[in-house]
Subunit: 331 residues, 2 copies
Amino acid sequence: MAKDKVNIYDVAAKAEVGIGTVSRVLNNSPKVKTETRTKVLEVIKELNYRPNKLAQNLASQKANAIGIIVPTFIDHFFVEVLKGIQAALEAEKIDLILYKIDKDQAMLDKILDIVHSKKVDGIVAVTMDIGEEDYQQLLAEEIPIVLADEKNDDFHSIYLNDLKGAEMAIQYLLAQGHQKIAFINGVQTSQHGIRRLKGVKNILAKNDLVLEPELLKFGDFKTESGYKLMLEILDLPQANWPTAVFAASDNQAIGILEALKEKNIKVPAEIAVVGYDNIELAEYLKITTVWQPMYKLGYLSIEVLLKAIRGELNNFYQTELELKLIKRETA
Amino acid sequence: MAKDKVNIYDVAAKAEVGIGTVSRVLNNSPKVKTETRTKVLEVIKELNYRPNKLAQNLASQKANAIGIIVPTFIDHFFVEVLKGIQAALEAEKIDLILYKIDKDQAMLDKILDIVHSKKVDGIVAVTMDIGEEDYQQLLAEEIPIVLADEKNDDFHSIYLNDLKGAEMAIQYLLAQGHQKIAFINGVQTSQHGIRRLKGVKNILAKNDLVLEPELLKFGDFKTESGYKLMLEILDLPQANWPTAVFAASDNQAIGILEALKEKNIKVPAEIAVVGYDNIELAEYLKITTVWQPMYKLGYLSIEVLLKAIRGELNNFYQTELELKLIKRETA
DNA sequence: CTGTTAGCGCTTTCAG
DNA sequence: CTGAAAGCGCTAACAG
């Protein structure tokens, strides 16, 4: 009646071999006589034995798992990335542990806990954006880490060019004849936001235009924020209204569209809107947007991480993924 | 230079105590002199020591992690459920391991691997829908399992009443004056699909109506399937067209809407559409649909699982979550 | 209150 | 090719 407690010793005993041998067949070691292997395998079936991975991992010093660290759980962006991650992991027999670490917490400390926990062989940190000194500390750790959506020469990193993305959007708007453009940005301290803002200003400057202070807003990349900030802009005297709005995320663009609809303002006739990300919703809502290859970001991150774990990488892998402007009906 | 290899012995040595004491402060055991604790804590900081959780887990026989088993990764339904799961887990210091198990695989075998792996203290299986005999086998295992979106008296289970949901939808359509209704279902073998079909037929029969065989389609709950199946229906002589279509998922409803748009058929004037799930997109696309509380499903699943793990549950927890019809613009 | 000593269940030399 | 033994790093009695 030793129900579930069957372990490697039970198998060894019943198969009349040593536990070493059982371990070998478990790990497909080639140096086991076929006959012996068959017998052990038989007993394993009989006993419905399945190894305790905790013990396996501790003994072998590898976790057979990877960790994904995300700042805010399951928003559209991460869902896409996760899909790519899952796809890349499909074939492997590697577990996926999801860690959510809030931006405002002691991120580094939590990450170090994970690193030292030995529960994962490697980590993909998505849009982490921690400070430079924190990165330095992380460098001291020997575990493979890939930064997704973050450029950093001291790590494997796969990123998107925010500057270029913003430039594409503004360039397009300019080409459509817009001169007075508003930019509804995300979190003010976000590196992504900062770089996108720079891109906006760059192109504007190149065309002898400026971004009016009253047409630059900071929020948090979410729908609600787009809605509120757009309303603020519409509170300005109508003469000051922009003819186009560039949003730092599609979620914000959606909020902007709602605000516009509420005020009965025609899009794009009266005010054009360009989003950022190309989340699935953007397609359904026909939002013109800057496409970020999030799925690919996830997929590639895992590929790189697995290579790094296997020691197949000699240098830090660096790749900038291409962005694309997707023209639809809002601009 | 023993960089990262600092373990409990190093801490014990430097703090001039036994490893037992270190372990005790690690686990907040009350029976440690404050003075000693302080000293140990100091050394821990100094050495930047963080426990190896693999070892902790093996020794303590608990994983401090739970596993989520999903059939198809990250679709709208699961994303919502995951949000709930994450929210419920927020406060706990419990890891979340995501397992994807394809429907067509040897599901039970994979689940048993997970169970015996000892990497998780409990499991939430979402929309698993394995056979009765498989459930029986699972019963033999001592690990807490909660079935989310699946009713089964032998497990903790939190579910939605498919029959009722389908009935609500059809009832509503009937009230709107529709007599000729089509049902675009999901996978033919899905218990959810089967029950929803039953609900549809129930209400129809109660009103002396029948579901025309040509107006009953089976697909796979995805957008593409809704699109294709609707097109098939529109291939029928126009006299045979339904005046309303009920879809087994919002994803399918979206596909249906696309097909209708392509054929320039007005919704709901010419053909009304009712979806199922109330995914986020449904809101933006103004789809009338049956709301399933997916977030709550996830949240509650974790609450129940945690209680089960802590041994606070004496019986199998059973709850049916309420559905709601959300009237919007497609019907 | 604290040190010591067994394990937890497996992997991995090391002999043979 | 295979058995025995030494850990992996920590928890949990058990003495004291």
